[in-house]
């Protein structure tokens, strides 16, 4: 077979496979959109659920998810970025470095339900926070942590050493170099990673199962130690074990759509923020 023919065949195989992947993605989105679109309304987004979850809105679930996302990021972001900085900029000993990297990867591979159990054992029971926003945020934060660490590391690796050397040669310490030169350069990539991990965290069901989520709360949470409703858990419950499963089907699809849109919007935001910060870094 001539090489040109092989080239053509390969090209078409790649193209078809890629289109296949896109097709699957669109099919899933279409599935959700078509069934959930009609549920979207201002009421749906801002009202409490009524009548055994068959009518009304999912406002408290949205609020709950937002709280949990914010909470988990408050936990994961500073910890993860600083850990990433320490690993990349400060550890010279390669054995220690490899050890930490191995542990981080392992952490990333732990199933999310195990995180949930751990969170329940540590935060809910031992530390006596009970089912609460704080327990849920801490658990989700731990889940997101390895991702943030890895994202930070990758961002730092991408920055050429010549910038570091230039800074050291002027008498700057490592800390000054990281703060004034390296971190600003790495920020766009770190924040992008952060936003993507938000997308992941907002959809996690297992970790919040035992640590914070409630099926129905008549009132919105007022303190860190309150329980909340959350979108993924809400979706799970009204699809499987709620009081009126069949009648809640529409609500379920609506919830699914909201969740998907949430993640989609976050991804777009990540992109835009990345572009904006990228330009800003160059100017100053």
């Amino acid at each position: 077979m001539s090489k040109n023919l092989k080239e053509k065949i390969a090209f078409w195989i790649f193209r078809i496979l890629s289109l296949g992947v896109l097709l699957i993605l669109f099919w899933i989105l279409e599935f959700i959109f078509v069934r959930g679109w009609h549920m979207l309304s201002w009421d749906f987004l801002t009202k409490m659920p009524e009548d055994g979850m068959t009518k009304g809105g999912i406002y408290p679930a949205i609020i709950g998810t937002l709280y949990l996302v914010a909470g988990s990021m408050i936990v994961a972001f500073p910890l993860g970025v600083m850990a990433g900085i320490y690993i990349h900029e400060y550890t010279l000993d390669s054995f220690f470095k490899r050890f930490i990297k191995l542990m981080t990867n392992n952490l990333a591979g732990i199933p999310s339900i195990v995180f949930g159990l751990f969170g329940m054992a540590l935060f809910v029971n031992t530390m006596k926070f009970g089912d609460s926003i704080i327990a849920g945020s801490l658990t989700l934060g731990l889940l997101a942590l390895p991702v943030v660490i890895r994202v930070t590391e990758e961002a730092l690796i991408a920055i050429d050493d010549s910038f570091r050397h230039g800074s050291y040669a002027l008498g700057a310490t490592k800390l000054q170099t990281v703060r004034k030169v390296i971190l600003p350069m790495a920020m766009p990539n770190i924040i992008t990673g952060l936003i993507l991990s938000i997308g992941r965290v907002s959809g996690e069901t297992a970790p919040i199962l035992f640590t914070v989520a409630a099926y129905f709360l008549p009132k919105l949470p007022t303190s860190l130690f309150d329980q909340v409703m959350a979108l993924p858990y809400h979706l799970y419950v009204i699809s499987t074990s709620g009081t009126k499963v069949a009648e809640s089907r529409d609500m379920a699809y609506g919830t699914a759509l909201v969740l998907v849109l949430f993640v989609l919007i976050l991804n777009l935001l990540a992109n835009a923020l990345r572009k904006y910060l990228g330009n800003k870094v160059k100017m100053n």
Binding site: L92, S94, D160, S162, F163, H165, G166, S167, Y168, A169, L170, G171, A172, T173, Q176, K180, V181, P184, M185, V281, K282, M283, N284
Partner: protein
């Protein structure tokens, strides 16, 4: 008094013996060129004087390295950041920070605690003038350093190094990434800076060594083969290896 000196200096990268017993001294306000084939220790030797070799794991140093007749390695009283304020460095590839032109030059001042606004402004202007870049950038100091051409970026890096007023300037092939006209500008600059600074320059370009330096040191496989006035090295070198190298008959 010698400005810079090494006595029987040996350097090892792990087990590799990179610099073998180098004894050499440099007087103030001179330009010294380090020449020799690739990988023969020139850049390693250069990096001794601002201790940038410290960044490489597994480096071992034996012998004395002196600045103003004080040891810079085995000296409890010598802080590395103090050393680097006295000994500046310009790298092969221009490496301005992703900041404005002004902030690039001001960086060295800021990290060393010199933040007073008018002082910084004045120093930035002086340094850019010394680097023969002021006229080209004075109206766009807030613009990104990346908007400058390669030759301008390198002069910016020189201004940045000069801003903290070192007494020694180390230059590691500063013009090798630049076009001929920018190279000529940098060479003229070095010739002028000699009045205020002591300069050591590593170069692969022998004609450059001829044009800018007062003394030249020829390194080969970690040994210092010959160190003499530049015009002697290029008209009548003592060692046959030196002659082979400068006439281009090496290898």
């Amino acid at each position: 008094m010698n400005k810079i000196e090494t006595k029987n200096l040996n350097l090892y990268y792990g087990t590799f013996h990179a610099l073998k017993g180098i004894t050499m001294s440099v007087k103030a306000n001179t330009v010294t060129a380090l020449i020799g084939p690739s990988g023969c220790g020139k850049s390693t030797y250069l990096r001794l004087f601002n201790r940038m070799n410290d960044l490489i794991p597994g480096v071992k140093i034996e012998g004395d390295v002196l600045l103003d007749e004080k040891d810079i390695y085995n000296n409890k009283g010598m802080r590395i950041d103090e050393l680097r304020k006295k000994v500046g460095m310009v790298f092969q590839k221009p490496n301005p920070f992703p900041k404005s032109i002004f902030e690039n030059v001001a960086y060295g001042l800021r990290v060393n605690g010199m933040n007073h606004a008018s002082f910084v402004e004045e120093r930035v202007e002086t340094s850019l003038k010394q680097a023969a870049l002021w006229d080209e950038v004075k109206d766009k100091l807030k613009k990104s350093a990346f908007a400058l051409s390669g030759g301008q970026q390198q002069r910016l890096c020189i201004a940045r190094a000069l801003a903290i007023e070192p007494s020694v300037l180390l230059m590691d092939e500063p013009a090798s990434a630049l076009d001929p006209i920018s190279t000529a500008k940098i060479e003229d600059l070095i010739y002028e800076l000699k009045n205020k600074y002591t300069i050591i320059i590593v170069t692969h370009n022998m004609q450059q060594a001829g044009r800018v330096s007062d003394k030249t040191a020829f390194f080969y496989l970690g040994d210092l083969i010959e160190y003499n006035d530049t015009n002697i090295i290029f008209t009548n070198p003592t060692d046959p290896k030196t002659q082979s190298y400068v006439t281009g008959r090496f290898g």
